[in-house]
Symmetry: D3
Subunit: 167 residues, 6 copies
Amino acid sequence: MAPYRGCLIGRFQPFHRGHRKLAEYVADDVDELVVGIGSADASHTRRNPFTAGERVMMVRKTLEPFDITDYVVPIEDLDRNSVWVSHVQSMAPEFDVAYSNNPLVIRLFSEAGIEVRQTEMFDRDELKGSEIRRQMIDGEDWRQHVPQPVQDVIDEVDGVGRLRDIE
Amino acid sequence: MAPYRGCLIGRFQPFHRGHRKLAEYVADDVDELVVGIGSADASHTRRNPFTAGERVMMVRKTLEPFDITDYVVPIEDLDRNSVWVSHVQSMAPEFDVAYSNNPLVIRLFSEAGIEVRQTEMFDRDELKGSEIRRQMIDGEDWRQHVPQPVQDVIDEVDGVGRLRDIE
Amino acid sequence: MAPYRGCLIGRFQPFHRGHRKLAEYVADDVDELVVGIGSADASHTRRNPFTAGERVMMVRKTLEPFDITDYVVPIEDLDRNSVWVSHVQSMAPEFDVAYSNNPLVIRLFSEAGIEVRQTEMFDRDELKGSEIRRQMIDGEDWRQHVPQPVQDVIDEVDGVGRLRDIE
Amino acid sequence: MAPYRGCLIGRFQPFHRGHRKLAEYVADDVDELVVGIGSADASHTRRNPFTAGERVMMVRKTLEPFDITDYVVPIEDLDRNSVWVSHVQSMAPEFDVAYSNNPLVIRLFSEAGIEVRQTEMFDRDELKGSEIRRQMIDGEDWRQHVPQPVQDVIDEVDGVGRLRDIE
Amino acid sequence: MAPYRGCLIGRFQPFHRGHRKLAEYVADDVDELVVGIGSADASHTRRNPFTAGERVMMVRKTLEPFDITDYVVPIEDLDRNSVWVSHVQSMAPEFDVAYSNNPLVIRLFSEAGIEVRQTEMFDRDELKGSEIRRQMIDGEDWRQHVPQPVQDVIDEVDGVGRLRDIE
Amino acid sequence: MAPYRGCLIGRFQPFHRGHRKLAEYVADDVDELVVGIGSADASHTRRNPFTAGERVMMVRKTLEPFDITDYVVPIEDLDRNSVWVSHVQSMAPEFDVAYSNNPLVIRLFSEAGIEVRQTEMFDRDELKGSEIRRQMIDGEDWRQHVPQPVQDVIDEVDGVGRLRDIE
């Protein structure tokens, strides 16, 4: 029998502790975990500072200790909402349920007849990516909000310097 | 110190035993293994029957028993050779050396100043993807040429039926 | 002799009574009516909630009682103003005059040497699409502003629910 | 109750008597007829000489005498088979069944769970588009193979001259 | 020995006296001058009113009296920051150093290992393009801020009328 | 009065003596010379080995001794014949007449109402680009067929090695 797979979609700029907590929750729920990294073609902007490859590293390294098979795939923007679900399905292993807290993503999966579960409840107490990016720019303590492997990636690529330069 | 990473590039239509043998060889050589799945946006053609997501499954499942951290990333075609290396670099974790037996890929990496190693010697005795696809269409014994997880994926998505229909 | 054709361009999100009044006016003026549905690739956004196909239905059904041959064609955005006129001309039957109240559209047709007539005077008393979309979100009486076939399409695709979800 | 709609997909280079016969057959079968003009962005090549707008005219004018509501929509190529069905669905009014004799189209609709009926049996005795284009180039009697409105469009745009020039 | 080439990057909407002063400075510094016209595919907007071709004329005509070999190349946007440097390199003759005052451009060249010099200090007393465009719209004396050949181009293409129409 | 401009279109892979002879002929005919480098986004293929930037260098350096103002602009492929003329017009300074020996280019300009002159008669005795590329691969004497500056560019970028590698 094919394993039951859940797909977690986000931009992960960066992948933070709320994302990890959510991934843990989903991992309990499914046999295999697909992580789709949205806006994969975007990088070097205030809103999307990290490349897809950098985010793949963040996610894979953070999930490595989990006892679950994971697939981490970049999803480039096509700028056509009406084909976005098919696009995700073509880039990712087949999945049974999607997890997201983005209203547009939820609507698109629903219209396509794919079960989607809202994730807002799981990361309620965590900072959003935009706030973490602001803390990086302003020199505040952003490190406490992201897992160790994510800190390592950000340091390796001089993520803080990049964010400040392009602001 | 950052791990030493090697990047193996191919279309993997499908991922066959020659590819696995090559991955094993590379894995011995590096700390972490990046696998770039080329022409990720292509599928449902005679030359590229499988989607990127299906190929991600083939590769990840085959590499799972290896004792190495791997990253398997789809690489969409941009149809611009001159920016292709940068595109790969943005989708994949940073790597130190690339492996390929495609003359164009080798040339592009070389011009970009990235070390690239030819792989032809490692899969010399293996069938090419085109021959395996022909065997699938003609009902010959293609299964012996691909690892078990790849057979499973092909069966799950009715890959043989798809190939015959679109021929 | 080739019929004299007029082309009416708009996004029609949704096609409302002002648009219908304008189409009636143009229909009196020409032998055949071309309707170009702009931003055809956009959908599921606050500004462009409906797909091209949904808008094709709205327009065709509303124009059906008119005694005129019409052509209703989606026009995808190319994001290059300088080739936009040629793009419209390739997607639509050849036309002699264009109707629009969009300053950019008017300028582009003029620079291309195509006669264009401003339409503002005809829909002066009608609501704009943005206001109708707001009324849909806020539960006000948007139905009075759109023809019956447009109401039917919006109901069939749960247009109000979609707009509220993606807001 | 929503009308039962059938969607006929083709490139229609040009729309010939076999296409018309097929459209008649489908029209008997459904309440409303959607015609999707494929490769809408292609024109001025040996294989795709006519623009989407020219083909829209051919089809609409030929279908006009039919007693059925029709929708004729250009479908641009996205060069991604895996999202093609969603793309068609976004450009066309919602339909219940598709008609095609293209093996790839049939496979893609089937994988998406949409009913598709093969059309080969209906135009068995008709010339193919490629043969009609060859006759136009070689000065043979292509006119007998296309409906009168299609002849008119081809004459109006100097279709024969165009084909010969770009050969 | 290959000549030492400097590349000056900007949108040049329009090319003004500050740009010319900067080009003069760079020309002193290098053997040959490459000018990359960014956002070449944009035109007819408030922010990018002039086509690439119009801007090519502005720059070439202004540089003509300089005693230096120049190359003026349009650079279309790819909307992928991570491949932008490779894209520029493929469209322009090979260059040794880039000049820009755009923080993103500076960061992208730096990450690619290309020397980049900031230009802000050279045009400090000059108006910005946005201010010159405002003056054109408001009927103020914009002519004093642009070289004579640029005035000629703007007059030839009715640049002021275009800007006012599309505002 | 605006100068009379002629536009010479080609892929120039590479720019050879026939092209130079043709440019000389056109230069006699017009006040200013526009050279459009087609398929600018293509490179590193057997048919299009050189980047746009490399070809800009070839052309500019060869034309430098001519006593005429020239504009050398890369023209990326849009893969839409119906908007190609507008695209060229947006990238190039406005021109009065085009020169080409490509049947498709001639047809597209003619349909757009732009005067186009065939160039075949001028380079009748010269080798074609495809033959020169073959000679480069086979180690024959290709140098006699291209101007000195073109030889320099090809040597500088190891053009012969590139062609042989990617064959």
